[in-house]
């Protein structure tokens, strides 16, 4: 089918071919079996020359644009897409490793069902699998509606989220086009990574601040900032959109004009971002926003605040005892005054409310306080903004992170037996939720658990009744509106860059087929023939916009260009962005209000500080060996989970790097090796997420420990998980292991000349 092709028609044909492949997911008629072997190579396939396809990275929720170098039908290298406004040709460590998701040796090769109650899996056909799913959804539709169905995802591509939201609305007899009905369930999007990012809190506060006319997370123009203060945001490691922030940091440092940007980092544990910062302010975890209070008060006192600021902002800082608070935080007041002065007088200041603000129970108020500091200094007129509306009406409901309270409620519903069907569209709730949330036990009461992961996850292996494996992101379709974006409306395009390796189907195709089988309002809510038809509808809505990177009167040409360039984006920022209003954070300034009582001073108890691993994320990447063997930037440890402990505490406990300790909280305990870490206080221990899978393939299973086993399910003031309030004890076990690290010795000597 390629031999007659002219160069001009290349993208047209490529699109049609890919559509045929996706269609085959529904019809059972495998288009790829009819492909003619390359007796004569197709015109675009030159031996030894890479063909690049634009698509989207889905290794983390950010949604960077990628170019995939393919040759002979195989993907060989992922690069950033230089045209994509978010990452502009750059890619992070995790993004680079996406090939190892695609070519992972432990993927599920086809649908399977559990034989008997506790038996192993047996291969089934897609028809059998779809039949069971349709049957269960039909029962729900004729019974209690969406109340009996839960949809879970750690991170969902926007179209998957939108389709799942419509499925739930349809089960309730809801109106097509409405993401969720009044009392219906939304897809649950939550895991420890999202919680540690604070995405849910930031989203909620942003809605308060910018009102309902705003969509998505606010954007932070770090590139234009002169002075930025990051409150526990691991900007260049894992927070929300690390490639965007890394790229912006390069621009900020080199100076848009003549000024080299200045970065201060406020956090309890020295992160890689803290190393990059010009100034590092160590404060107890959960109290970062108190530094914002001090800065605000000093800025008010010295009359440095911006002229035009929303009413009510000053009130946030007026009554702060800055000097007392600084002493309480263990910071020099003079140092804070100095920072406040350069921050206050800057024409382009930016305060960044990082994920660490959600560590304590007052996370939302902490974010409001940092946002108030932004308004005080006028950042909303230079470096902070929000997007006004969806890029087009055709865009489906955008992925919204749930609150921990919603997750708890869903787990409670499962425990009580009122949930009949659980669809795990993405991720691995058994591993990615705190064990103490009781997910595994509650899920035992669910009638049918369907796991859609391409991999044998802990959830799939231990709980699922049915596995309907999805293709990886390099083999399937999608679109994504990045949050936070770079201040431009973007709808990134995801397309298959290689033929599907295994007998997999996209979850969206599966849901559409099942909805058709259920019929009635459910089928009306999801009217599309398949995933591609759904995407074409969405993309076609973008043709109305003229201020954009691609425009065309012809729907088919527009669709092809959308794929060719890796997406659609506006050429100008919003003409009329929503204006912020001041919030009233009731941030208490006593330590006890944040993380509970002070740690016991005898040194036997520590505050546990979990953090997202730069390489393994929350464990999503633990099946990718490149990332296992990439050293953590601060400790250089590979292949394991470790416990960071201050040198003085290590000495007190009589342990050194590599010694095993038993870490015990009120809800669980794990054993892991110690890493003596200089960038942490004596009453805190830190551990990276990512390890401790029971399954998930040869590279992940049984490696490291899961910090989620230790975290207490403390709910914050506004329904969030207060993930930084767990206290643990450490007990040396007497054992030790040789940690795989890069460093030969604990060198404190900087090489000569640096």
């Amino acid at each position: 089918m390629f031999t007659e092709m002219s160069r001009r028609d290349f993208f047209k044909k490529a699109g049609v071919l890919s559509a045929a492949l996706a269609l085959s997911g529904c019809g059972g008629d495998r288009a790829e079996e009819r492909l003619v072997p390359f007796l004569r190579s197709p015109e675009e396939e030159l031996a030894g020359v890479f063909t690049h396809y634009a698509s989207l990275c889905r290794q983390c929720p950010a949604g960077c644009g990628i170019l995939v170098a393919t040759m002979g039908g195989r993907a060989h290298k992922l690069e950033g897409n230089p045209r994509h406004p978010l990452n502009q040709g750059k890619l992070c460590a995790r993004g680079q490793a996406g090939l190892q998701a695609l070519y992972n040796p432990d993927r599920l090769v086809g649908p399977q069902a559990r034989a008997g109650a506790a038996g192993g899996f047996q291969s089934i056909t897609w028809e059998e699998g779809l039949g069971r799913l349709t049957e269960a959804l039909s029962a729900a539709a004729s019974g209690s509606g969406s109340g009996a169905v839960r949809v879970y995802g750690g991170q969902l591509p926007d179209h998957t989220y939108g389709v799942a939201a419509r499925l739930l609305a349809g089960l309730d007899g809801g109106v097509p086009g409405v993401g969720s009905s009044e009392n219906g369930a939304r897809p649950l999007v939550w895991n420890l990574h999202r919680a540690l990012d604070g995405a849910g809190i930031l989203d909620a506060v942003s809605r308060e601040m910018y009102g309902s006319s705003a969509t998505g997370l606010p954007f932070f123009d770090l590139a234009s900032a002169e002075v930025a203060v990051s409150f526990s945001a691991d900007l260049f490691g894992t927070w929300l959109s690390p490639v965007y922030f890394g790229r912006a940091y390069g621009e900020m440092r080199r100076g848009r004009g003549v000024t080299r940007g200045y970065l201060a980092q406020v956090e309890p544990r020295l992160s890689a971002t803290g190393v990059s910062a010009d100034e590092w302010l160590a404060v107890p975890g959960g109290r970062e926003a108190h530094v914002a209070l001090c800065l605000g008060r000093v800025i008010l006192d010295e009359g440095l605040a911006a002229g035009s600021r929303p009413a009510g902002v000053d009130a946030v800082f007026q009554d702060v005892d800055a000097r007392g608070l600084a002493a309480d935080l263990g910071l020099s007041f003079e140092r804070l005054v100095r920072l406040a002065r350069i921050f206050g007088v800057s024409q382009a200041p930016l305060a960044i409310p990082g994920g660490g603000l959600g560590a304590a129970q007052n996370g939302a108020d902490a974010v409001r306080t940092v946002m108030a500091l932004n308004l005080l200094v006028g950042a909303h007129e230079s470096t902070l903004g929000a997007s006004s509306a969806k890029p087009a009406d055709s865009i489906l409901a955008t992925e919204t992170v749930s609150s921990f309270a919603e997750v708890r409620q869903a787990i409670e519903d499962m425990r009580s037996g009122s949930v009949d069907v659980l669809l795990v569209l993405d991720g691995d709730p058994v591993h990615d939720l705190p064990a103490s949330s009781g997910f595994s036990e509650a899920a035992a009461n669910v009638g049918l658990i369907v796991d859609f992961s391409p991999f044998p996850t802990d959830t799939g292996e231990t709980l699922a009744h049915l596995c309907l494996p999805a293709p990886t992101y390099l083999e399937t379709w999608g679109y994504h509106v990045p949050q936070p974006g770079p201040g431009l409306a973007i709808v990134g395009a995801q397309q298959p860059v290689v033929r599907q390796l295994h007998d997999t189907r996209s979850p969206v195709d599966v849901l559409l087929a099942a909805a058709k089988g259920v019929g009635g309002r459910v089928a009306e809510a999801l009217p599309w023939e398949n995933e591609v038809a759904c995407l074409k509808d969405v993309v076609d809505g973008l043709r109305e916009r003229t201020d954009a990177s691609i425009t065309s009167g012809d729907p088919e040409a527009f669709w092809m260009r959308w794929q060719q360039y890796g997406g659609w984006w506006a050429t100008q920022p919003d003409a009329d962005p929503p204006a912020p209003r001041a919030l009233r954070p009731g941030l208490a300034t006593s330590a006890a209000a944040d993380v509970g009582e002070d740690p016991v001073e005898d040194g036997s108890r520590f505050l546990l500080r979990p953090y997202v691993s730069l390489t393994l994320g929350d464990g999503r990447h633990a099946n990718q060996p490149w990332l296992h063997e990439t050293p953590d930037p601060m400790t250089s440890v590979m292949w394991d989970t470790w416990v960071e402990i201050a040198p003085s505490s290590a000495e007190r406990l009589g342990v050194s790097t590599g010694d095993m300790v038993k870490v015990t909280s009120s809800v669980g305990s794990v054993e892991a090796p110690v890493y003596v870490y200089r960038g942490i206080g004596p009453d805190v221990v830190a551990m990276p997420l990512g390890g401790g899978h029971r399954a998930y393939g040869r590279y992940a299973a049984g490696r490291g420990v899961s910090v989620g086993d230790l975290i207490e399910p403390v709910v914050g003031a506004e329904g969030e998980l207060a993930w930084g309030t767990t206290r643990v004890t450490l007990e040396p076990t007497g054992g030790s292991k040789a940690l795989a690290t890069l460093e030969g010795s604990e060198s404190t000597v900087v090489p000569e000349g640096l």
Partner: protein, 227 residues
């Protein structure tokens, strides 16, 4: 190459890009624990003086420095480690007999040895870059400045009958580096971006006292507002 330490964030994107581009093998935890991980580029983290909470650190990406007077070259008995005509310090895999003298002599610890044959459980072998040889057991390897990309750019320029443009050649690490801390180009061209950066007052070379004449220039961090 120029490495601007003022913008390096230690994010490891370069390290993974290099593994992917150059078919670098994965050795596993036990081998990595005895120093046999095969990274061609690594980010070292140095602690400054000072105790918590006044502790500071800095990152230093280290790859083969492509020395002008390379200590690895004179010790190779079979001329596997040799200077190429364009000044690259190249490693000829099919000459290498695995004496490891070169690695022993490299002050930057840039060279890694295949103590075992690399494993790519199927279908991981499909990820391999067809432009780069997979090295076998007993072979020494190291950063090549992505010589395959240099070759491709040169061929392309020759076909189009034009000089290679500044910035046209990007090793995988340079291409992916989010903040743009790594810059690659022709140091012999006084107008190239690397030449301009190399002339910076912040420029230093690693372990210059050894007189190895490295081709990589590091730009020291700026001192922030106090400068």
């Amino acid at each position: 190459m120029v490495v601007d330490l003022d913008v390096c964030t230690g994010c490891q994107a370069c390290a993974v890009a290099c593994l992917a581009e150059n078919n670098v093998g994965i050795v596993g935890e036990e081998e990595a624990a005895i120093g046999r991980a095969q990274h061609w580029i690594r980010i070292e983290r140095y602690w400054d003086e000072g105790e918590y909470p006044e502790v500071r650190a800095q990152f230093l990406p280290v790859m083969c420095q492509q020395c002008g007077k390379a200590p690895c070259e004179p010790v190779c008995p079979v001329f596997a480690s040799v200077h190429s005509e364009d000044g690259l310090n190249s490693q000829v895999y099919n000459r290498c007999i695995g004496t490891r003298y070169c690695a022993h002599n490299c002050p930057y610890k840039a060279r890694v040895f295949n103590f075992f044959a690399p494993q790519f459980p199927s279908p991981l072998e499909q990820q391999l870059n067809p432009d780069v040889t997979v090295r076998s057991v007993g072979i020494m390897e190291k950063c090549t400045f992505c010589v395959q990309r240099i070759r491709r750019a040169r061929e392309q320029a020759r076909v189009e009958d034009r000089p290679i443009a500044d910035g046209e050649i990007m090793p995988a690490c340079v291409q992916t580096c989010p903040p743009g801390a790594l810059v690659f180009g022709d140091a012999g061209d006084p107008d190239s971006q690397v030449s301009r950066l190399m002339a910076s007052r912040r420029g230093i070379r690693l372990l210059e006292a050894f007189n190895t004449e490295p081709s990589v220039v590091y730009l020291k961090r700026e001192g922030g507002l106090d400068v």
